[in-house]
Structure formats: C-alpha cells, structure tokens
Amino acid sequence: MLLGKIVGTAVATIKTLELTGVKLLVVQPLNKNLEPSGSLQVAADATQAGYGDIVFMVRAREAALALEEKFVPVDLSAIGVVDTVDVDRSIRDFELSWGYSQFA
C-alpha cells in the first residue's frame, strides 16, 4: 500500500459498464516524507476523498476489492483519508551488515 495526494478528478463518459458511479481521482504518489514520487496516476475512490486530501491507496486486484462492485478493471484505489503521518526522519535507509544481526 502507498500514500498519495489528490490533485484532481478525472471524468469519463464512455467507460466499462462496471465503472458507472465510481469516482476517479487524479493522484500524485508520495514518499515517506510526503514528497512527490513518480508520475500522476488515476485511482478509483473507495473512501470519499476529495481534492487536496492525503490518502492511502492499494494496488493490483485488491484495488477492485475495495469497491462496491468487486469485478471491475481497476488497479489503484484510494481506501483511507490520512489524518497524520509520523515518520522517524532519522532513519534514511535500512542497511544490515554481513553476518549476524541481533535486534531488540
């Protein structure tokens, strides 16, 4: 699953029948610091999100499962509106050295 920001909506009159009534959002995927990551994409709205919202999304077949009609050709859905993202910014990457590493 991934974060995104709603930057617009997409409207289509001619579309596959199962997509009738599904709101299409234009989203910018975001990284952990909420900075843009990758190009704009269109997501189906499964959570009543609106312009400017930060959302979390799911890809693949699971995107269709989030919608009311589950047999739809959708591969990205917004499934939650984000209130806050709290990330430890001091963690830049997660590199383990060779050999044995003990945690905790």
Binding site: M1, L3, R59, E62, S77, V81, V82, F94
Partner: protein, 97 residues
C-alpha cells in the same frame, strides 16, 4: 516475505472497514551493504510492532485476508512477525542491478 524496518505510523479516521483493527505502518525494506535503498511502503500490522522494530512483511493479498479473516479485504502488505535476529552470509554478495 521481506525484511523491513518500521519507521513510522499513518493515522486515519475515514478508511476501509478492513483497516479498522490494525495499525498502518510505514516500512523501509532492507538493503544489502553497498546497494541502493528501496522505496518505503505501507503495511498493516498484525504483530503489534513499533517504530524501530525489524519485521517480516508478507506482500500477498490472499495471505493477508487469511490473517484478518475478512473476505474481500483490500490489503496486500501485512507485518506478520517481529524479527529477533537475521544472519546474512557474504554469499549474498552480487550485483542486483
């Protein structure tokens, strides 16, 4: 499954009902020494992990639905264990690009 570190938490009130009983974590996948860091992603937490924990993340929807026991849950990534230790021998050295 992959090895990752929990680096943050996402809080959301309005969300799909399948997400109601779990925390949503931001995870950073492991990168081997000398290789490029990977993009972080979100995972639902069924193991009660916290920020800083090294975890086992399953990334397959049917397995995730088996854990939540919610039919049609739109979940892919799920934390299914907290790792105590990892051993990686130098046989892992190679070029992944």
């Amino acid at each position: 499954m992959i090895i990752a570190k929990v680096i943050g938490t996402v809080v959301s009130t309005i969300k799909h009902p399948a997400y109601h009983s779990y925390k949503l974590q931001v995870v950073q996948p492991l990168n081997l020494p000398g290789e490029l860091p990977e993009e972080t992603f979100l995972a639902l937490d069924s193991a009660h992990a916290g920020v800083g924990d090294t975890v086992l993340v399953m990334r397959e929807g049917n397995g995730a639905r088996q854990v939540t026991q919610i039919k049609d849950a739109p979940i892919i990534s799920m934390i299914v264990g907290i790792l105590d230790s990892v051993e990686i021998t130098e046989q892992a050295k190679g070029n992944s690009r």
